[in-house]
Symmetry: D2
Subunit: 88 residues, 4 copies
């Protein structure tokens, strides 16, 4: 997935720690909710990026490969994470 | 995309017409919001299904094909609709 | 809820009918998915608007009223549609 | 917001740290995406819970209070976080 996803996730971790601190210091509820939403938006970006990398590596390999079951598995996974993203 | 997506979309259309009738008859706001959310959940299902069909047809053809640009285009589209689904 | 929500919902209905026509005419899957996502974004706007009206009318009345159960019910509904919106 | 939100957020932080470790150890992309989605689902639950507490405390106080501007501000915030939740 590369260094970029890792870097972004560590930034999100720092952001989330900031949210925890806000709750510990009894910050205003709506401000906390807004920061949680910002964390989620950042996570969405990371997962989009990871998916794009995955499409351009594993998915190409699997779909061009001769193993039909593996190809079906890899495509099914894409459909599943898409469906899940609709439920978040 | 097949008859199933069409059938589901027509059901959603009937559902949406029901929501419009609720608003015309001045139904309770929260009941309207809940029905709009149900319409959205149904639309999510249709788009997941269309994506799955797409993966198992056009995407396989493009990725196995010899046109590298076409392959990139098709994979980029998947990443784009995934990213968009995260914003809905 | 007013004329504005009704007008927006009728526009969404026209949009959805356009999507159905696309499927009937066997349009490209990804274009259909993108249009479904646009319909969902429009529905999100309508429900946000209806909620805002609801907050500024029924919710004020209930919270200022003397019926504690009614107040709890109205506030619980807000929490419920918020939670549901997180799952869409 | 109370001890429960704090506890949940700390659990989410542990979960996110697990995701970072997965990326460091070069785990399978789809597994990472699924774990990121699980983190987001957990964050949704925390924000729903914080909103519910907020409705039953600050919102009641503001709506029952005599300061009309404060009341409007508090209700507008609810509408805003609802709208934002539709975009995540």
């Amino acid at each position: 997935m590369g260094a970029d996803a890792l870097k972004r996730l560590k930034t999100v971790e720092g952001h989330l720690r900031g949210v925890i601190r806000m709750v510990e210091e009894d910050a205003y509820c709506i401000d906390v909710i807004r920061q949680i939403q910002a964390v989620e938006a950042a996570l969405n970006k990371v997962s989009s990026q990871i998916l794009e990398n995955h499409l351009n590596s594993c998915v190409i390999t699997a779909v061009q490969g001769s193993d039909k079951k593996e190809r079906q598995r890899v495509l099914k996974e894409i459909a599943e994470v898409f469906e899940m993203s609709n439920k978040l």
